[in-house]
Amino acid sequence: MSDDLSRNTLAEAQAARLRHVWANPRGWRYWSAVNNTEVGIWYIVTAFGFFLFAGVLALIVRAQLAVPQNDLVSPEFYNQAFTLHGTMMMFLFAVPIFEAVAILLLPQMLAARDLPFPRLSAFGFWCFLIGGTFVAGSIFFDAAPASGWFMYPPLATNKDLAGIGADIWLLGLSFIEVASIAAAVELIVGVLKCRPPGMRIHLMPLYCWYVLIVAGMILFAFPPLIAGDILFELQRMFDWPFFDPDRGGDPVLWQHLFWIFGHPEVYIIFLPSIALMAMIVPTFSQVPITGYGWIVLAAVGTGFLSFGLWAHHMYTTGLPALSLGFFSAASEAVAIPTGVQIFVFIATMATGRVIFSVPMLFAAGALAVFVFGGLTGVMVALAPFDWQAHDTHFVVAHLHYTLIGGMLLPLIAGLYYFFPFATKRMLSARLGRWAFWLIFTGFNITFLPMHFTGLRGMPRRVFTYPAGHGWDWLNLISTFGAYIMAIGVLIVVVDVVRALRHGRPAPRNPWNAGTLEWTVETSDENWGVRSVPQISSRYPLWDQPGLVEEMDQGRGYLPDAAAGRRETLITGVLDATPEQVQRLPTNSFRPLAAAVFIGTCFIAATFEWWWLATAGGIIGIGVILGWLWTGTARPPEAAMMDAGRGLTLPLYASGPRSVGWWAMCITMVGDATAFISLVFGYFFYWTIHAEFPPPEATGPGLAWPGIAAATGLAAWATVLAARHANRAGRVAIARLALIAGAGLAIASIAAGAAAILTTGLDPVVHVYDATVWVLVIWTALHLAAGVLMQLYCLARSLAGHMTPLHDIDIRNVALYWHFTAGTLAVTMAVIGLFPLASG
């Protein structure tokens, strides 16, 4: 009896401490929150807002196309409207909504308190909000991008034809792409290292597999686009001729870089929505998913194969038939895993007793629409068919069947399904049914006729068309359908707004689902989980009776916040054995401030206000350094802590055991991909020119690249020496090595500068010169960042935050330097040695 009593008071005290530690800030300070529950919701609301905005643009586009020779909007406005529609749907809605939903759901699904880098999530969100508002807002100043969502040169590089809108597109979206990569890093580390004890990799929810694969894809898909953006902006601002054939450039390079990103992007959009279905279908069938391994196959298979499709967007550029054959083959192959995915859902429904609730309705509608879009996809993947259909409304129909069936409808299914999770209230089933049927029929009425207008030759991206080609009434029907669909979307919005206040309060786990996110409490607790459970099933809520009580009563891991710090559990990649307790940073305005200043840098660069851009960039970097300094890698007050259930775990880990090391490694993989894309550019130019470097080229010679490589690699060696010395307790030597390393790296930068400045290379004259300049500048910037990191480690050591035992900083910096040394070596070999080999 008294035992029980003291247990209860203990649990009460623990709960009070947890509540205090995880509480949200109040008043205006609320916006400094970094908790995934807040950031996830902000992110979703923002992305949805951009969706509605882009949808209104689509309605304008459709209204303009309703009848032939219409003059509702001007051609200039039409171009902006469809370009911004496509751009926003893809960059400001489809990809960010994945990140948003994952940030909201993932921690709870893993019974983690938060993801490992909450401030990074917050930073990503603020970047997204600022960059997105900038891009979207441009249309009110008649300055929106107008060259189509893929910005082909020479149209988009021409300053007379494509005004500032193109710069807004390039810089605004680059800024957001960086945020996407940040989110990808966060999500990968989250899935791999933050699972609850016992959730071995074969037990994790399928959603996690998709998150892992999609985040991995982002890491390889976005960097080529960033590389392309850099080349593009250099041409627009400084007239470097990357895409100008007169000076050795080639517009097709942009198409390659864009579509190496652009096709995987389609799957980056599609897979996360399928992942939502992989959670919804088993719940409403009340049976586990049939064929877990098949879903893993589908996710991994599409993830990979989708990278072998990019040139199917380039069938009409005159590539050799052999090349087209490769891409056509991969395009057909990707249908296999995609089909498997769909059959698994059908099989699961067949084994269970399906409850046709609103989420299931949307899910079923999604399958139907997507399969149809997939069929036209197989058609356009065949080069000869595509030559006929390319750039007609047939393609518009195809892409909307896949995007709306593959992402929008599953997402709305997810909205109805997870709404009680996020808000503790239910949406209305009656309104949901209305919304579904309006959206579903409206969608088909809109886009089915476009197949026919397309086949009858109506080009896409035209602001109007003549009567009498058999396009007239089909277009009118399309427009009519678009407004029906819009009413459906409006009903969803109204229902959401209504339910926030007046919705029926949701019981806990309203759908009787089996996965951990539904342990979420109905009261407004902010701690995620009261305590972390031990998992032994794929559907713990179905198979582990008493689990929820155990968690709620604080009988799991980490039931307390004794040190007054936010903490979460880090476990092993394969078997989820507990490894460490990770201290998490708390609420802070620093991520917001960093986003504001870095955003200023990008936005000012758009208008070529260089002083403001530089100032913004420098202050932004300063804020980030301050954030790292105060928020990361502080030695804990004790080496170990009691993690509950008799488990004692370390509070500090460095190297491959620390989450920071993984984050650095993953980031650098993305960085290396961008670099490889630039190198790809060099060799691309080599293939299209009979002689490359051109015979009249004078630089950069061998001497300067050689010196740059030697000094830079020596700098790398000193970083490694510093790491060793620090580990071995010879702190003074480590500090000296860091100083020497910084000096060597600066020497390397200087030698690189000499290589391009003193050898007669002029980046405006020929693409060869420009390419060499870009490679050298890229490398120099990495060296400069490396110097900053060396000095940072030095300062940390002097301040006592980095010690022989607590060496996260230097180990991460050493890892960074491995990649930088590789970048340096490749750059110098390409610009210094390759001309000898080819010339």
Partner: protein, 120 residues
């Protein structure tokens, strides 16, 4: 991977499609350069054929290792016990399927090179 056949990990899972990716890049890059530079396509097609054979052999070996990890018939799906052995079986099963898909995809990529003899 092949050198440590007793373990099924994320690396073994991703190995077969990675081989597909390398094979795809080899084929595409070689053909692109050959056609741009006017190299002899016959030689390139032979190299692609050899690369295809090598990739297929690797994938078959990976599939065999994966099949071994599934424990043959000792246990049938869904492989969802909270044990290391079950994890091995599940990863083995998934890897086997991924390997099968990679096999098909490599064959698909090889086919154009088998049939198309010039750069038009």
């Amino acid at each position: 991977m092949l050198t440590r056949p007793d373990r099924a990990t994320i690396v073994t899972l991703l190995a077969p499609p990675t081989v597909w990716a390398l094979h795809f890049l080899t084929a595409y890059i070689l053909a692109a350069i050959a056609c741009a530079k006017g190299w002899d396509l016959g030689g390139v097609r032979l190299v692609i054929a050899a690369a295809t054979a090598a990739a297929l052999v690797f994938i078959v070996l990976a599939a065999r290792a994966a099949h071994r990890h599934t424990g043959f018939t000792a246990d049938t799906p869904p492989h969802d016990d909270p044990t290391r052995a079950s994890r091995m079986r599940q990863m083995g099963a998934a890897t086997f399927l991924v390997a099968a898909l990679s096999f098909v995809a490599v064959v698909f990529t090889g086919l154009p090179a088998a049939f198309i003899a010039d750069c038009r």
